[in-house]
């Protein structure tokens, strides 16, 4: 104490300037506003998009926690006490448990991440907490891809990643301006992208999953199911989501042949149709006949094995299985968008020698349902020579009933076929198919329901045929002796436009269609075609890049055999090249103070090499004298150089030419 006093009294030992305010660590324990802005921005961008898929209260609570943090930051108040946060965490955990019933699985996992991020931000005390929060943001960005990997989501994640990197930069450099942080983060992101491209193409791809996934890993989406009841397909009519795409090697088949075969339903309980158990085999159960249509089918993931192939499928691809009800299956459930090279044989006669058990199942009807339909069927069947004639009569009668095709059919009660045929007379394809099948079965003709898609729209931009959920359809199949299973589409009786022009044509003017399907806005349609062509390219080239495609690509660029070792070699080489390029960039511009200083340094370095280095304290004029004394033969030139430098450096103005003169003088100086 006394020593401090004595030195203060003396006033002579005090060092020149006041000490700058010391920060013990550069990572200030309290979050500054500029750091907080980046961090909260990154967190909001990571949480908000999940509101589309998660229960509303979870994302709302996550965002509310962020808003709370923002308020604390704005007011500069202290974070809430740990006890409160702990209680909040317990409450949140209980809420998630109540909502989902468990913690394991994808959706509860993402929900926990969202809430954890909100809570973590409230307790950011050390730099470590902030880094953990940034990592949580990145996990949430990744979780977005579980739901959607489209281009807009990719752009969203790119933006979120930029903010997350910005948060890390702001953390490391709290005194920099927001602009500098943005520039650094953008530079880092831009420099990361070449690495990404190389790794994306060359990193050995492994087909997941690596381990058993939680049951809800692939949540159910709109699409066909293995049951059908009145209304189950008209629900799909509202959805514009794409179900599949097909690229035909030749001209696409006419609309009337575009039946994409899905689940076949032959068990009927009076209201609901279900699939029967089927037998699988490695080759089709029918001889392939007639014309062949080749196409590449890209199916959106629907978590089931069925392939929705054109009738009747046959393919050289070994992974495809065939069922006894004339469908094609994939080896595994379609969990990711998949591509299959398929062939279709529209003229094939299938099921000519069908087993009696299948035929018996295809004529069964529950005894106590649809009495009026049974009556009608009995009336139509009397006097008919064969099943073909019954078919003719049933179709004629249905045509005569003047049934109407609508996307919003009235609700039906217990006897669905009776009510549709005789009371409401308004229905969607499943009503038509179901009523037809009931009539045919009542008349003793083996009939079953086929669900799938019908039609599709050609995208003029890339020539792909696009089939949407709204193209979902149900039709019927009748088995006739000697001809096998014949496709009959009862919907065509009431709405033939449905088959040729799709749903939009059949329901034109009814005002029932989803916005994007309307035909009256040509520009909108054109825009949609363009967008979907881009999305398709993205799906095929980027999202569809899987182990198989990687193998093909590597084989094409000559890395086929001994794939792994050589690929890893190329990968390492490319990464080293990229790093070397960055290294070159980082060396550049470190020493460019100004041209004059560079020249002077070069001159001094040369003089040092000649044996007379310039001591750091010596000015140019003194150095000139020292040099002149050391090299008397060149005294004049050396003095001129030093004087010119001094006048350029300290003189009132320095024209460009003088700098060039100095450069020339130094360059032309020859001491030996």
């Amino acid at each position: 104490m006394s020593t401090a006093r004595s030195s203060r009294r003396l006033g002579l030992f005090r060092h020149g300037g006041a000490l700058p305010r010391e920060r013990v660590t550069p990572l200030a324990p309290t979050l500054r506003r500029n750091q907080g802005a980046w961090l909260l921005g990154a967190a909001a961008m990571a949480i908000a998009p999940h509101s589309v898929w998660l229960p509303a209260w979870i994302t709302a609570l996550g965002l509310a926690l962020l808003a709370w943090r923002a308020l604390l930051l704005w007011r500069g108040s202290r974070p809430p006490p740990g006890v409160l946060l702990f209680a909040l965490a317990l409450a949140v955990a209980a809420g998630v448990r109540l909502e989902f019933g468990h913690f394991f699985g994808r959706e509860p996992g993402v929900a926990v991440l969202v809430l954890l991020l909100g809570l973590k931000l409230l307790e950011t005390r050390a730099a470590r907490d902030i880094r953990a929060a940034v990592l949580l943001c990145l996990f949430l960005q990744l979780a977005l891809f579980l739901e959607d990997q489209s281009l807009p989501v990719a752009a969203l994640v790119l933006g979120g990643t930029l903010l997350a990197l910005g948060a890390l930069v702001a953390l490391a450099d709290p005194d920099g301006s927001q602009r500098e942080h943005l520039r650094t983060a953008a530079a880092l992101l831009a420099q990361g992208i070449p690495f990404m491209l190389v790794l994306f193409v060359l990193f050995p791809r492994i087909q997941g999953p690596l381990w058993g996934l939680p049951a809800d890993a692939f949540s159910a989406r709109t699409g066909l199911s293995e049951t059908m009841r009145p209304g189950s397909i008209s629900v799909l009519g509202q959805s514009e989501a794409i179900a599949l795409r097909a690229a035909f090697s030749g001209p696409p088949p006419p609309p009337a042949q575009r039946y994409w075969r899905g689940p076949v339903l032959s068990r009927f309980d009076g209201r609901e149709w279900r699939a029967e158990a089927v037998v699988e085999s490695a080759s089709p159960a029918y001889p392939l006949q007639g014309e062949r249509i080749d196409y590449l089918l890209t199916i959106e993931p629907h978590q089931r094995r069925w392939l929705l192939a054109l009738e009747h499928p046959g393919s050289a691809q070994p992974a495809i299985r065939y069922t006894s009800d004339l469908r094609a299956l994939a080896a595994e459930p379609l969990r990711a968008r998949a591509r299959f090279a398929l062939g279709a044989y529209p003229q094939t006669q299938a099921g000519v020698e069908e087993s009696p058990a299948v035929l018996a199942a295809a004529t069964a009807l529950p005894a106590d349902s649809n009495p009026r339909s049974r009556e009608l069927a009995a009336e139509l069947a009397t006097g008919a020579r064969d099943h073909a004639e019954i078919l003719e009569r049933v179709l004629a009668r249905l045509r005569g009933l003047r049934l109407a095709y609508t996307l919003r059919p009235p609700l039906l009660g217990r006897h669905t076929a009776d009510e549709f045929l005789f009371d409401t007379r308004r229905g969607f394809c499943e009503h038509f198919a179901s009523a037809f099948a009931v009539l045919m079965r009542a008349a003793g003709v083996p009939t079953r329901i086929v669900t799938g898609y019908q039609g599709g729209e050609l995208n003029p931009i890339d020539g792909h045929l696009v089939v949407r959920q709204s193209d979902a359809h149900a039709w019927a199949e009748v088995w006739l002796q000697g001809r096998g299973w014949l496709r009959v589409d009862p919907t065509a009786l009431a709405a033939p436009e449905r088959i040729d022009g799709g749903l939009a044509a059949a329901l034109a003017g009814a005002g029932e269609l989803p916005f994007m399907l309307r035909t009256d806005m040509v520009w909108l349609r054109d825009l949609r075609h363009r967008w979907e062509a881009v999305a398709n390219l993205w799906n095929q080239q980027v999202l569809g890049y899987n182990p198989e495609r990687q193998r093909e690509l590597l084989a094409r660029i000559g890395l086929g055999a001994d794939r792994l070792a050589r690929t890893l070699g190329v990968l390492a080489g490319a990464a080293v090249l990229l790093l070397a390029a960055l290294y070159g960039w980082s060396l550049r511009g470190a020493r460019t103070r100004d041209a004059l200083a560079r020249e002077w340094e070069r001159f001094c370095a040369r003089m040092a090499a000649c044996g007379l280095p310039r001591p750091p304290w010596q000015g140019p004029l003194d150095y000139a004298e020292a040099l002149a004394a050391h090299f008397p033969a060149h005294a004049r030139e050396l003095r001129e150089i030093c004087v010119l430098y001094a006048s350029l450096r300290y003189g009132p103005h320095a024209p460009e030419e003088d700098l060039r003169t100095l450069e020339n003088r130094i360059a032309s100086l020859r001491l030996k």
Binding site: L142, Q149, T161, L165, D175, A185, F200, G208, R335, G589
Partner: protein, 335 residues
């Protein structure tokens, strides 16, 4: 015991690493320029945590077949890799030279100054200079030399050398630590602690035996005349009235102040005192004598500084006291 051994081992290991990897040895001539050979780059703890998180994300991407998950992980990995070069670039091209370090009393804090020059036309953010277990954080503006103070405790008198210093940065992402190790030629003179409440100056007893001492018997306050001011003169002797009237800056001379000479002699201190206590008292006396504007001589075993007054004389005496008995004491006297 085991802990002692491991500590010793760690110290030896660190020493070898310093010598063989970082080539740390004697103080280096200024300026120390940070070229590519002396900048080291390794991931920080946060960087390792980040890498683990990326690994988990990659496993998730593989497991769920997320093509864009791969893309996200690879982009982040690429950004982290390029942040390594950003960190390197943040140190590259800097040059360091030692600045002034004013002497302090033992027990005070020595403030070293290193002048760090940033020749590049860009700012160098988030730098950290560490030495002697202390560190200071700073940033360098573009194309400018900045003085960086670093405060170290100075517990003992003598020369305090800054020694092995590190300049490090974790900019831009905090995932990579880039650093350079160097030994700047910076040292600080640490003076003995002045005795807290020293006895009065030895005016009568010891002083009159000193050769050349003149006893006038006159009081301290006897005004003897004015002379031109010299910068080493005590401000309390300035003729402020003359100055206030617009006259030149003059110094008042007093008969006693001019005439009295003290001898501050090591050998005249009480015999029970150990060396440090003697140095402490002599230091306090030097300060007191200077404050009173007296002329004084200093006699230490083997060294004798003749009587004089003024700042330069005082510093010479204090330096001698600071370095007394240390290996380079005479070097200090010659300097």
């Amino acid at each position: 015991m085991a802990r002692l051994i491991t500590t010793a081992f760690v110290q030896r290991l660190r020493h070898s690493v310093d010598r063989w990897l970082f080539r740390v040895g004697a103080a280096e001539p200024a300026p120390i320029r940070l070229g590519q050979r002396r900048i080291y780059v390794l991931p920080s703890a946060a960087g390792i945590a980040f890498a683990l998180a990326l690994l988990v994300m990659l496993l998730a991407a593989i497991n769920y077949n997320l093509s864009l998950g791969y893309a996200l992980v690879f982009t982040l990995g690429g950004s982290a890799a390029s942040s390594m070069l950003h960190a390197f670039r943040n140190l590259y091209g800097l040059s360091i030279r030692p600045g002034r370090c004013p002497p302090v009393f033992a027990g005070d804090t020595a403030v070293f100054t290193l002048l760090v020059d940033n020749p590049a036309p860009r700012r160098r953010p988030a730098l950290r200079l560490g030495a002697q277990g202390q560190c200071s954080s700073f940033e360098l503006p573009a194309a400018q030399e900045t003085a960086i103070p670093i405060a170290c405790p100075a517990p003992r008198r003598g020369r305090l050398v800054l020694g092995r210093s590190t300049l490090e940065t974790r900019w831009p992402l905090g995932l990579i630590r880039a650093w350079s190790v160097f030994v700047p030629a910076a040292e600080c003179l640490v003076l003995p602690t002045p005795e807290a409440d020293p006895p009065p100056l030895p005016r009568d007893g010891a002083g009159d035996t000193a050769p050349g001492s003149r006893r006038t018997g006159e009081g301290d306050d006897d005004f003897a005349g004015l002379r031109a001011h010299r910068s080493a003169d005590s401000p309390r002797h300035v003729a402020w009235k003359v100055l206030a009237r617009g006259g030149p800056m003059l110094t008042k001379e007093f008969a006693a102040g001019q005439g009295r000479e003290l001898l501050l002699d090591w050998d005249h201190l009480p015999p029970g005192f150990d060396d440090e206590r003697r140095l402490s008292r002599l230091t306090a006396w030097v300060l007191a004598a200077e404050r009173e504007g007296l002329r004084y001589a200093l006699a230490l075993p083997g060294v004798r500084i003749p009587a004089a007054a003024g700042g330069a004389h005082r510093e010479r005496c204090l330096r001698q006291l600071a370095l007394h008995g240390l290996a380079d004491a005479t070097a200090g006297e010659q300097a």
